[in-house]
Amino acid sequence: MDMILDGILKALCLLVTLDAEVRDITLLSLAVSSSATLVSLVVGVTVATAVALTEFPGKRLLISLINTGMGLPPVVVGLFVSIMLWRNGPFGFLGILYTPLAMVIAQALIATPIVTGVSLAALQHLPKDLRLQILALGATRRQMVWILMKEARLPLLAAAMAGFGGVISEVGASIMVGGNIKGYTRVLTTATVMETGRGNFEVAIALSVILLLVAFAVNACLTWIQQRRRPR
């Protein structure tokens, strides 16, 4: 118990003194996971809209695949992306293994099925007649999609939160494709694993507390946007 208290005190201490290394690690965590979430939002919402609004053979199978992808294990993604990005691998010429960009790619792969799955459920949950009604009122197809998205914005923001939560807390892929390199690809989760291995449990707990605070702050912002104007 003392250790947990010491850890929380240490976290406060690191936050108040604005420890340069911890600040950089926190900012990198935020930058990597936010970029990955943005990428997954653009891809995921587009795919979800396309799938929700069209009928085609194999649609159920595709939806099952997307839903399975929501539980994609980060280590599997990490291993796959590492092999792809190895110097002698198919994308080795890019030279981006062990960079933050590689971490963004891996995290985007983890977040995209989550965002797609939640968005798809949200868009499919809208009343079927709504679409017909909007079209009957003379809206173009693009306007209809926009109105549907506005209608589903609460669950869509929930998709963003789920995606972000999935990647900011993930360690398997980040450590494999990022390498936990000091001052370059070390993020909160990989630093926590390393400090635990070093037996610096207070520091590890402090980093965990900071990670929770960051996740809370981002989700609080998104929730605020989500709840700002309640739908009638």
Binding site: A31, V42, G179, N180, T196
Partner: protein, 282 residues
């Protein structure tokens, strides 16, 4: 209607994502990749040496801390330029198969047989490390193995072979597949014996309920060597950088720093340097 606003929003998001990606991908001159072991990262020695090397040469050195087995595998595939490992038998095989172009001893420390202070198997005072392992096996006392093809795991297997025992599949022999620090934690919690390098044990000692029960055997000497990966393995290998790092590790000044590392924190150095281009101590 909101269509235009929506388009603006989406474009803003795309630009922001592209901007963030661009910001995150500061293209650096070809970075040197060092594959090394977790024990060196956990001891904190790399945090001292890497910035020194970077300041001296102006090169960025990316350190990937994995087990010695994985480090050698990365070298074999040409995915790393230089290795700093401690698994002599595997290193010799690596060199004889032509995967490395040069191998130099950098420093040594030693392995320790550690276990619960109550020592149920009576390991303390064994004449040799192999005898200590025999006593553990005879008492069927819990032994926690790394089981991860690391340098420490390789040495542990050598010791079992020297003891004439095959522990695989025995109920008292458990493999964690984790790093040294976590394996020590498991051994401490379960009251088991394990083999550890002295550096990690000293670093974590304060939190562990484990005691040193065997040390000083010639089979417990732990040599770290730097290996320059054979440039013929892949055209991507930066031999010049690898050579610079090997030279940096073995030059007198760095050897002095290695020899002093840990004195402030633990009262004794964690590693003993092999000397500038010294001979292997085995």
């Amino acid at each position: 209607m909101g269509t235009r606003r929506g388009a603006v929003l989406i474009i803003t998001i795309i630009i922001a994502a592209a901007g963030a990606a661009f910001y995150l991908h500061r293209p650096a001159p070809r970075d040197l990749i060092l594959a090394t072991t977790t024990s060196l990262q956990d001891s904190g020695l790399l945090d001292v040496l890497v910035p020194l090397f970077e300041a001296k040469t102006g090169r960025r050195l990316k350190t990937v801390a994995v087990g010695s087995g994985q480090a050698l595998a990365l070298g074999k595939r040409g995915e790393a330029d230089v290795l700093l490992v401690h698994s002599p038998e595997a290193e010799e095989a690596f060199m004889s198969q032509g995967h490395g172009s040069e191998r130099l001893p950098v420093m040594t420390n030693d392995f320790l047989v550690v276990g619960p202070p109550s020592d149920p198997a009576g390991v303390g005072g064994s004449p040799s490390a192999a005898a200590a392992f025999q006593r553990i096996a005879r008492a069927r006392a819990l032994f926690v193995s790394r089981g991860d093809a690391s340098g420490t795991h390789a040495r542990e297997r050598t010791l079992w072979a020297a003891a004439g025992i095959n522990p695989e599949g025995e109920r008292w022999y458990q493999q964690t597949g984790l790093g040294m620090g976590q394996t020590l934690g498991v051994a401490s919690e379960k009251g088991g014996y394990t083999l550890t390098d002295r550096g990690t044990f000293l670093t974590l000692g304060k939190n562990l309920g484990l005691k040193i029960l065997g040390e000083g055997d010639h089979l417990l000497v732990n040599t770290y060597s730097v290996i320059i990966v054979n440039p013929e393995k892949s055209r991507n290998i930066d031999t010049q950088g690898a050579r610079a790092f090997a030279a940096f590790l073995t030059e007198a000044e760095t050897q002095g720093i290695i020899g002093r590392f840990g004195v402030e924190r633990y009262g004794a150095p964690l590693f003993s340097p092999c000397g500038a281009y010294g001979t292997p101590q085995r």
